[in-house]
């Protein structure tokens, strides 16, 4: 029986490991589905409320932050709806990056046992995050309903803004995971970094608060600010973002993903010698 030429792996014929990885990921797409399933099932199987926790989590945080901060910031509009919109996006970002780091560092036992495209685990973490964000939209819409924040037709653009958010998050996760393999300190340092990052991003306070700080550069140089902006525009503000806003958010996401993918796939051949 002849073996198809497509099943030949030849290290001398691999021109670009980044492209080769895309080909492999397409072949292993069912693995990604299984890994997402595993993470969700394993996480919630033994808790009584199960998947409900994905919805209760942002709701709980939102309630606490509203009680603590609503008087502190003089907010126009409706504070709980504003805050939960930002939190839904931020939680996806923070949880996916953190979970990717942990998966690469401590869940990588399989890397040493059998071959599979190394990006599969991180892609599945991001995929699981997208499912979580869909669940987290339920309590968010509940808050919109209770606080009478109307949902406009712009909300139909939600899949696009989630995609942009996911591209950026995946790219950064790949970069961080690569760094963490060679320097385990990254994993220790990252939780500190991400909480500092959260307070530098307008999530629990209005962005006007940072407009004057260093001429607004604190905002302008923060990639998550631009991505959160389109996220909140389509949902909370009910406005279709302008061309420039789309362009900035998309470029940040696309460049991060391409750079992250290339760095990870080029360094992945060395993982076996480290982690």
């Amino acid at each position: 029986m002849a073996i198809e030429e497509t099943n030949v792996y030849d290290s001398d014929r691999v021109r670009s490991v980044a492209l080769e990885e895309i080909r492999a990921i397409i072949h292993y797409k069912d693995l990604i589905v299984q890994l997402i399933r595993r993470d969700i099932v394993a996480r919630y199987k033994r808790s009584v409320l199960g998947v409900l926790w994905t919805m209760l989590n942002p709701l709980g945080t939102m309630v606490i932050l509203t009680i603590v901060f609503s008087r502190m910031f003089n907010m126009r509009g409706v504070y709980p709806a504003y805050i939960i919109t930002g939190l839904v996006a931020w939680n996806f970002f923070a949880q996916t990056t953190q979970f990717s780091l942990n998966t690469t560092l401590w869940g990588s036992g399989l890397y040493h046992k059998i071959y599979m495209p190394r990006t599969a685990f991180i892609i599945s973490v991001a995929g699981g995050g997208i499912i979580n964000i869909v669940f987290a939209l339920v309590p968010m819409l509940l808050i919109y309903l209770v606080t009478r924040v109307p949902l406009h037709a712009s909300a139909l653009l939600l899949p696009v803004v989630i995609l942009i958010l996911a591209m950026f998050t995946l790219g950064l996760s790949l970069l961080l995971s690569t760094a963490a393999v060679f320097f385990p300190d990254v994993a220790e340092f990252f939780p500190v970094l991400i909480s500092a990052w959260m307070y530098l991003t307008p999530i629990i306070y209005p962005e006007e608060l940072l407009m004057d700080v260093l001429n607004g550069w604190v905002l302008k140089l923060n990639p998550m600010y631009h991505i959160l902006k389109v996220f909140r525009l389509v949902l909370y503000e009910g406005v279709v973002p302008g061309g420039l806003e789309w362009l900035i958010a998309f470029l940040i996401a696309a460049v991060t993903l391409v750079v992250g993918w290339r760095v990870f796939t080029n360094k992945a051949k060395l993982f076996g010698y480290y982690a």
Binding site: N7, V8, Y9, D10, S11, Y28, R38, Y115, G272
Partner: protein, 254 residues
Amino acid sequence: MPDQNSSDFTNNTAIFLKDVNVAYRIPTEKIRTIKEYLIKKIRGKVKHQHFYALQDINLSIDQGEIYGIIGRNGAGKSTLLKVVSRVLYPTSGRVRIKGIVSPLLELGAGFHPELTGMENIYLNGTLLGHTRHEIQSKINDILEFSEIGDFINAPIRTYSSGMVARLGFSVATAWEPDILILDEVLSVGDAAFQKKCTNRMTSLIKGKSTVLLVTHSPALIEEMCSKAVLLDHGRIIARGSGEEISRQYMTMLE
């Protein structure tokens, strides 16, 4: 000629390794922080020693061959298997693998205790590179062979270790791979199941697959392998028929 090395392998070559080296860099001092690394890098003080786990490995294995690898502990046998199964990327050299490799090294890789037996079949199967559809078409075979019965819908944390091993073996051997990698001949479970294992292994080995068999046992090499190599300190020090190599290995041990 498409390239200069094409004379070294033919259309019939399943595994082809040329000048493969695997070198672990062992830093002479421990560097664990980025700051330390950057300072040392700038000063040109990042020093490493090289430890060669494999050196100048050249191998060409034809389709359908049963090829033996023998050597003492630490000779580089497992490293060689890792290179062929693409778990470890060699430091230098060329690796050409034709066909699907099934490493029967890690039974039940990725099994998760909270998932049911059925869910774990799909997880383990996709990890081995099979599609959902391919697993579906083998599911009855896997269920029947593993003898898990009604427990298949229970989380595998409730399984005995024998049941887990049986399930892992059944998934791993459900397909006839192009290249089969064996670290010793496997048998799991109780005596009755071991017999089933041996039968299945024999039919896989005697089938169309190319087999790469790693072992400490000269008798096994002599009995099963048409060709073999003897590894020592990361190098191939002898190649020949299974019989010759097993004799050389025994001489070396004395």
